[in-house]
Amino acid sequence: MTVTSEATAEPLTAAPALAAVEVTKGFPHRRRGFQRVLGETSFSIREGEFVTIIGPSGSGKSTLLKLLAGLEAPDSGRVELAAEPVTAPSRRLGVVFQQHVLLPWLTAKQNVLFALEAHGGSDRSASERERLAEHWLELVQLSEAKDLKPGQLSGGMQQRVGIARAFALESEVLLMDEPLGALDALTRHTLQLQLLKLSEQEKRTFVLVTHDVDEALLLSDRILVLSQGPEAAVLKDVKVPFPRPRDRDAVESSSDYLALRRELLGLLTSGS
């Protein structure tokens, strides 16, 4: 666990941490036979960068994240993790799911531990794994609730366990599919700040899918705006210039904020 408070600024190496190279994806369609969701899409993400993928609903954001995670294979093109093609999900690509996807028969801590042990080849001892799980639950402020089952936790707490689990894996890249989308506004607000803090402390590469413009502006270094589907593609690549470490007030009162926000909302609504 490298707990540095350094800001994720410039790329450390030239090779992208994660890249999509001309990927396309479609699904069988009842009437049309086949419906392409994602048109030819390419982008690359540097190591240590926080990139948000944003787009109108139906633009294939979640599909794109599944391709990046290796959960689905692109119809053409490829996804590359540190210049190697991704052909299957791997522990190097951590995923925070849209729904929390905690195993309801395990406690919060057991859920995190399961993630550390599931592949059967952990190089850590049982007590080290235990300490690691507790460390991450503490970072998302769930130490008190670590022995509760998901059914006994609120929606926000459940998703925090999901986040702790993904971080505990120590994967190079963390993929988050609308992790806060199902939460109420107040909880979402708090968790955004927690995510901000974690992502600035942890030297990792982050990819976030969201439909929340303010969330994107608060958290990311760069925002990829997808066009309205079908055949969505990257409409615009927007750099988010706010200095790190960030805090919400500073970001939201910055002079660029409103302009960027207006630009993004314009792109999202004019997409089709």
């Binding site: 995670a69 290796g70 959960l71 299957a88 999900p89 791997s90 522990r91 690509l93 951590g94 995923v95 799911f97 729904q99 996807v101 195993l103 309801p104 028969w105 399961f114 993630a115 042990e117 599931a118 592949h119 059967g120 089952k149 998901p150 059914g151 894996l169």
Partner: protein
């Protein structure tokens, strides 16, 4: 709830009112039960009244007397002809639990496999669909011919009666597993052992428990019929020998005992529902 809204309804008084409502409901149900019970006995008495000189139709009084006799001689053991009801009951329960247990051992792993593997499932589906609707009793002669043993045949019939039910419910349970759990297993690179035992099996429990419960009830239904044919002991054998002795009172007693034991069996296995995690 018929709580009238008082001006100052304290939580305590509301709670008391709810309690009174529940008590009243229970009292009414109990009163109605007594009325229905008396009605039932009365109709039974009426229906059998004309026959009591012939001795065949079981009157309530004669059945009651027989029940007392059967229960007081429950532990007699002078084989082959004079065996207490407890020994019949134990014989039936043994066959049911053995056949049912073996079926569960086969059907649960097979169900997990078929539920996760679409190709094998499609290949085996015709077997399941054709064999499932067959009355388990149809397997009985086949069992006798192949196994040449009455005891093994009874267990085999129960096995067949339970197998399909547990199998189909397990497959169905696997299909209902949240597909994201399997995505999670993939992103964690879970070993197949971990995926099966620590994700799939617990997630399929609701289906498995439903299957086990239905199968056990069915097995208890089937054993009585099977024992009429093969058993040298058992509740079915008891029913059949009593019929041959024209002891119809005993049949009423047997029905009562079979029903009561079936109820207890079902309640016991329903405890498995506690294993199912609530989400």
């Amino acid at each position: 709830m018929t709580t009238t809204a008082h001006k100052e309804a304290s939580p305590q008084s509301l709670q008391d009112a709810a309690k009174r409502d529940r008590a009243a409901h229970r009292l009414k149900a109990a009163g109605l039960f007594v009325i229905f019970f008396v009605l039932f006995i009365g109709l039974w008495q009426l229906a059998t009244m004309g026959y009591d000189d012939g001795g065949l139709a079981p009157t309530p009084a004669a059945s009651w007397q027989r029940l007392v006799e059967v229960l007081s001689g429950a532990f007699t053991h002078n084989p082959p002809n004079d065996v207490g009801i407890v020994f019949h009951l134990v014989a039936s329960l043994q066959r049911v639990l053995l056949g049912f247990g073996l079926a569960a051992l086969v059907a649960i792993p097979l169900g997990l496999l078929l539920g996760t593997n679409r190709t094998i499932n499609a290949a085996l589906e015709p077997f399941i669909q054709v064999l499932r609707p067959v009355s388990p009793l149809a397997w009985l002669p086949l069992g006798l011919a192949l196994l040449r043993d009455a005891e093994a045949t009874a267990v085999f019939v129960i096995f067949m009666a339970s197998l399909w039910i547990i199998l189909i419910n397990t497959i169905d349970g696997v299909r209902r597993v949240n597909p994201l759990y399997l995505d999670l297993a993939r992103t964690l690179e879970a070993t197949s052992t971990n995926r099966t035992l620590r994700i799939l099996l617990p997630a399929t429990l609701p289906g498995i428990v439903t299957g086990l419960r239905t199968a056990l009830s069915t097995a208890w239904l089937v054993i009585v019929a099977a024992e009429m044919i093969v058993g040298n002991r058992g509740m079915g054998t008891f029913v059949w020998t009593e019929w041959n002795a024209l002891q119809i009172d005993s049949i009423v007693v047997a029905i009562l005992i079979i029903g009561a034991v079936g109820f207890v069996l079902d309640r016991s296995i329903a405890q498995l529902h506690r294993l199912i995690p609530k989400n």
